[in-house]
Amino acid sequence: MCRVIQILFNTLIYGSEIAIIAVGVALSYSILRFANFAHVQFAVVGAYTAFSLHQYAGAPIALAAVLAALLTGLFAVLVDWLVFARLRNITPEGKMIVSWGVALFIRSIVAAMFGGSARVFDVSSDTLSIGGAFFTLQDVIVVAATALAMLALHALLYRTLAGTALRALASNRDLAETRGIPAARMIGLMWFICGTTAALGGTLFALQTRLQPNMDLVMLLPVFSAVTIGGLDRVFGAALGAVVLSLAQNLLISVDFGTLFSGESWSVPTQFRDFIAVGAMVLILLLRPRRIAARAAG
């Protein structure tokens, strides 16, 4: 029983870390119709900004995280203004390639500024236990912060005029413009949201582990996998996808298939975690292409 609870905890924790980054990929896809590889870079930039504010400027972590999120939001707007805004009319594939270039550029600049070595937030957290399952205060903070961010994002998209306008823009760009919705400014807002959520996710991720310029590569596949599972253009689908992916990973490597079938203990080796993530992504794409194709066309 406690194994089950533990697996659920692990699922929730890892799922949260991925989800908050994944929502932005889906949001930008829903409006601009391309998969932005540079999105995870916002997470890296946000995490480093938070780290600098905390370590060098002495801001408390919570404040540093919020400030970093806002700054990264502006950074995302800047990146759009410099690059993507000038390339609105090229093909989605072209934008994907460009976003890769942007990602490589940002990663290298971050590495040049901070050095390639890892840095860690100076926080320690204590273990808590419920029903024999273990987790830490930090985990609680990560899950709670993610949940809060999700609620805030949901309220923004579904309860405010600007949020509804964003969804309208995603649904039908031309129509939205003829209703007086200023697409350019709304896209700016969208980038701000993407930058903010990703930065928050990156900071939480770094709090749990460490900071490294190439942490984007660690996050890239699970994030894209989660977004694909949820449907590329569905913001909260991406969050759900993250949890589903996390559950699949945790279940597959935790369940002792050997004992289940033959008695000899055998589980999926843990190094297959990434394999599961990528496999799930491809499988989803192969199994449910009709829905995806239809939505992308409509």
Partner: protein, 372 residues
């Protein structure tokens, strides 16, 4: 701000350094070039950069003492990006354009082996400071390792865990040549002494958490955890173990490259086998110098890099430049060289034999040498 400062300072230092060296050789001959190949970008360049620092430190020391037969040593540092292709490119440039006789290499076997493949037919010398795959033994005569191979350290770790009375053990290593290589030799040694291996976990490096990976150990309750790995991943693994309430002691290879996550929890729980000499007077002196120069305590690869450069310098000093001469002189100068990583002795494969092995335990916030 502090960051910009340190970058600026580094730039200034480098400019100053480079401005000095041509000045010193103006009178007579051009400097002797020595190549360094390391992953300055790519995954986890921390140890790699440390290795380069060690090489720099040794080159400085040699130059301060008059260089090699009156010629200064000039380092040419190339990035391998931790990609075989970039590593080969770097090596080809060093050997062919810069005409270096020898290169000091940091990098996993995926980078080191292709470079060794390239160097062997050219007859160039490689000093290996990091890769520990047994495959590197195939380049005897052209490749010399300052780092003992995994099997030696792994075996020692396995014996050590068994000697502490552990009957069952679980293994936690990164899924790379270093991790799996050490795991296999340690497991073999542990089983040889009657121990039982409960589970082998090879984790993907750089993951945010290893809780899921370590999950199974909660139920298995091993007497010991045998491990190896580079700093940041080990820190994450410790954290996962602590959070899951896994209380077994850790016996590890190279504890000095580990990062400890929670000092109090780790106190007395982490011990392991590391290269000897780090605690020697020579090692201590170097450490102080490194702290002064780079304002950070060096990790072990600093010493492997230092020894590699020192040996090369001494060999060149003795036999002059020229690949054949250096190759012949290397084992000789090693005999009288008191290395930062202890006495260095090579077998025919260019691998260290009888490297001094010390045991360390993490106590009171730092690693301390313990009696064997």
């Amino acid at each position: 701000m502090k960051l910009g400062f340190s970058v600026l300072a580094a730039v200034c230092a480098m400019v100053a350094f480079s401005a000095l060296s041509p000045g010193a050789v103006r009178a007579d001959e051009p400097p002797v070039s020595v190549g360094v190949i390391a992953n300055l970008t790519g995954s986890d360049p921390k140890s790699s950069v440390d290795m380069v620092h060690g090489v720099e430190m040794a080159a400085d020391a040699l130059n301060a003492a008059g260089g090699v037969k009156g010629r200064k040593i000039a380092l040419i540092v190339e990035d391998s990006e931790y990609r075989p292709q970039a590593g080969i490119e770097a090596a080809t440039k060093l050997f062919d354009v810069n005409k270096v006789d020898a290169a000091i290499v940091f990098g996993g076997s995926s980078v080191s082996i292709p470079i060794a493949e390239l160097a062997a037919p050219k007859g160039k010398i490689l000093m290996n400071t990091s890769a520990s795959s047994a495959k590197l033994g195939n380049y005897g005569g052209t490749l010399f390792s300052t780092l003992p191979l995994d099997d030696i350290v792994g075996q020692q770790v396995g014996f050590y865990a068994a000697s502490k009375g552990a009957k069952t053990a679980a293994f936690i290593v990164p899924n790379n040549t270093f991790g799996t290589g050490l795991m296999e030799s340690a497991a073999k040694a542990f089983e040889e002494k009657g121990g039982k291996v409960l589970r082998k976990i090879a984790y993907t490096e750089g993951q945010p958490d290893y809780r899921a990976d370590l999950q199974a150990l909660v139920a298995l309750k091993p007497d010991a955890i045998i491990s190896a790995g580079y700093g940041d991943d080990t820190r994450t693994a410790f954290k996962a173990a602590r959070e899951l309430g896994i209380d077994a002691p850790w016996y590890v290879g190279y504890p000095s490259i580990f990062s400890v996550e929670n000092d109090a929890w780790m106190n007395g729980k982490l011990s392991g086998v590391d290269n000897g000499g780090l605690d020697s007077p020579m090692g201590q002196k170097l450490k102080a110098a490194a702290v002064a120069k780079y304002s950070a305590e060096p990790r072990p690869h600093f010493y492997y890099g230092y020894d590699a450069m020192m040996l090369l310098g001494l060999a060149m000093q003795k036999a002059g430049t020229g690949v054949a001469a250096i190759k012949a002189a290397l084992p000789d100068v090693a005999k009288s060289y008191d290395g930062a990583t202890g006495k260095i002795e090579w077998d025919a494969r260019g691998q260290r034999i009888n490297p001094p092995m010390d045991k360390f335990m993490f106590k009171d916030g730092k690693l301390q040498a313990i009696a064997n």
